[in-house]
């Protein structure tokens, strides 16, 4: 199978008060379509940074990034935004739902940028909320849901546009054991059943068990 994510000689530094903070050095990584890649490593090693680069919400200082068939390092801001909404789904540690919107409305958000009609949107939203097992919580607000349920809404939002790639940054980091297990099982199902290529960052050794590949990042280098 072909590499759906190609990271070639990528370096990334942040600048703080004109001081360069190098995070990733000359990193190269290929991810094959259908993989469930888990990234582990100590805090500050650059896991989130790498994930953000792959997902096109940050830009590399150097190197090439070819993701889902697009050279994303060359896209301008609005091109990148369009590409993101079509190609990647995001799951964050702190869910990042919009508190004033219901589960349904949160999941519907990415679809507002598509040409889908209201009834089509409804169908899609209900469908993914059923997949994550929240068909009965459609009109609940985030604060009326448990952490695990919130994260499932976030996952539904990530997959509602049917992207090929799903990135998740410590999706179980803020959850209790049972909820975490449910989320991991869901991620595994999305990978196996729905053929999503997943890149997930985690500190949880159990999460690693679900991976088809496990990589360690240390001080900006893959080991």
């Amino acid at each position: 199978m072909s590499a759906i994510i190609q990271v070639k000689n990528v370096s990334k530094s942040y600048w703080r008060n004109s001081l360069e903070i190098p995070v990733l050095h000359d990193l190269t990584l290929d991810v094959t379509e259908g993989e469930f890649l888990v990234l582990m490593g100590p805090s500050g090693s650059g896991k989130t940074t790498l994930l953000n680069l792959i997902a096109g919400i940050d830009r590399p200082s150097k190197g090439e990034l070819n993701v889902a068939g697009t050279d994303i390092a060359k896209l301008n801001e609005s091109g990148l935004a369009k590409w993101r909404s079509a190609s990647v789904g995001f799951v964050f540690q702190f869910y990042n739902l919009i508190p004033v919107l219901t589960a349904f409305e949160n999941v519907e958000l990415p679809l507002l940028l598509t040409k889908l009609s209201k009834s089509e949107r409804k169908k899609h939203v209900e469908n993914v909320l059923n997949i994550v097992g929240l068909g009965d919580r459609i009109y609940h607000y985030p604060k009326q849901l448990s952490g695990g349920q919130e994260q499932r809404v976030a996952i539904a939002r990530a997959i509602v546009t049917d992207p090929v790639i799903l990135v998740a940054d410590e999706p179980t980091g803020d959850l209790d054991k049972t909820s975490a297990q449910e989320i991991l099982t869901l991620m595994e199902r999305l990978n196996k059943e729905f053929k999503k290529t997943i890149v997930m960052v985690t500190h949880d050794p159990h999460a690693a068990e679900k991976a088809t590949r496990l990589l360690h990042l240390e001080k900006g280098d893959l080991v």
């Binding site: 919400i57 935004a81 919009i98 004033v100 958000l109």
Partner: protein, 385 residues
């Protein structure tokens, strides 16, 4: 559509904060409207002055009279169309708190003031009645004067009991026309004064001079004053506008302060709203990062923030303007009767207040929008409020 719903939901997030902001804006709009209303009243009483009318009075002071003989002399100056003498009567009607202007005038007064509209019928009746008087529509309504009624004034400048018959009621032509005057025959006053205090007879307080072309006002004023130079009663002539302005000059500083205040208030509303919007946008830094991650554009974020800011400013402005009318009319009621010859909210005041509210909605959103657009997604996610 969905954006609109989100704007509403966002505005309602902190109900107390939003409510206080709206109340603040409303109060400021009311204060602004009230100040502007008072300012425009002053301005429009000056504006009401006819450009083609001059006022000639005694050079030393308004309270010293001029001989009636001046009338024909002034009339002889080229460019002068007609001249009307006038006497401030003063006096009291029933109670000292009943303010309204009472003046003795020559009959051609109404030719010089076409904005005081009187029917030919009533005017003919007035001319026939020796003690006839014509009252403005506003005071006729206020004191329930009808044609044929007797009005009794208690004189002070001209002591004694004075009786008048209402011959007519004049209507104001314009909104800023003073409809609170009571006007009567100079002859009626003069006859009795000549009998009682002969030295005070045949004198008026000022002349109203109608010129054929306002462009000649300055030159004619000079000619009039030159004509009476070195006489016992030297004159001072000026346009009616300048005359009215000198009357309100004492209040000029207050008006300037009020003008300044009204602009300061707009500045304050803006700070109140900007503060609310900046707080709101700061709290939502992460959410904006989420929107951007999902592919929402600068246009969407701008609509969200601008929409919320405009929503709050429009509601506040709307409530303020809505309450302005009852409050101004309440204000009119607590002012002494007739203190202002007219009291109304100029449409321009409402337009100014409304457009200020809109403008403020836009201005208050600029900084939060800038911040939301310029924050990088990754920094947005790392932001801790």
């Amino acid at each position: 559509m969905k954006i609109l719903k989100l704007i509403f939901k966002n505005a309602l997030r902190h109900k107390l904060r939003t409510t206080l902001t709206i109340v603040g804006i409303s109060i400021a709009v009311i204060a602004y409207g009230l100040l502007r209303t008072v300012v425009t009243i002053w301005d429009s009483s000056v504006d009401a002055a006819g450009a083609d009318r001059l006022i000639t009075r005694q050079a030393v002071s308004f309270i010293f009279p001029l001989p009636v003989a001046y009338k024909s002399k002034i009339e002889s100056i080229p460019g002068v169309k007609s001249v009307c003498g006038a006497v401030w009567f003063g006096g009291t009607y029933k109670d000292k708190s009943n303010f309204f202007a009472r003046m003795a005038i020559d009959d051609n007064y109404f030719e010089l003031y076409p904005e005081f509209m009187i029917s030919q019928n009533e005017f003919d009746k007035y001319k026939k009645e020796r003690n006839g008087c014509i009252v403005g529509k506003s005071i006729a309504e206020q004191y329930k004067f009808k044609i044929g009624d007797i009005i009794v004034l208690d004189g002070d400048i001209f002591p004694g009991r004075w009786e008048f018959t209402v011959s007519g009621i004049y209507k104001p032509r314009n909104k800023n026309t003073d409809a609170t005057q009571m006007l009567f025959h100079y002859e009626y006053l003069n006859e009795r004064i000549k009998q009682e205090t002969a030295v005070r007879g045949d004198q008026v307080f000022w002349y109203i001079v109608k010129v054929d072309d306002p462009k000649n006002s300055a030159q004619i004023s000079e000619q009039i004053d030159a004509m009476f130079k070195n006489s016992t009663a030297e004159t001072k002539s000026e346009t009616e506008k300048a005359f009215t302005q000198s009357f309100v000059a004492a209040s000029g500083a207050i008006i300037t302060a009020m003008n300044f205040m009204s602009y300061a208030i707009i500045g304050i509303i803006m700070l109140v709203l900007a503060n609310t919007m900046i707080m709101a946008a700061r709290e939502r830094t992460r959410e904006y990062a989420v929107f951007k991650t999902l592919g929402f554009s600068a246009y969407h974020l701008t609509s969200l923030i601008l929409g919320e800011s405009m929503l709050i400013s429009c509601i506040g402005g709307g409530i303020g303007i809505g309450l302005l009318y009852p409050i101004v009319s309440g204000f009119e009621h607590v002012m002494p009767k007739g203190f202002f010859p007219f009291f109304f909210i100029e449409p321009v005041t409402v337009i100014l207040a409304a457009s200020s509210a809109l403008l403020i909605g836009v201005l208050a959103a600029i900084f939060p929008i800038q911040r939301a657009l310029h924050t990088k997604i990754v920094d947005g996610f790392r932001f801790v409020g």
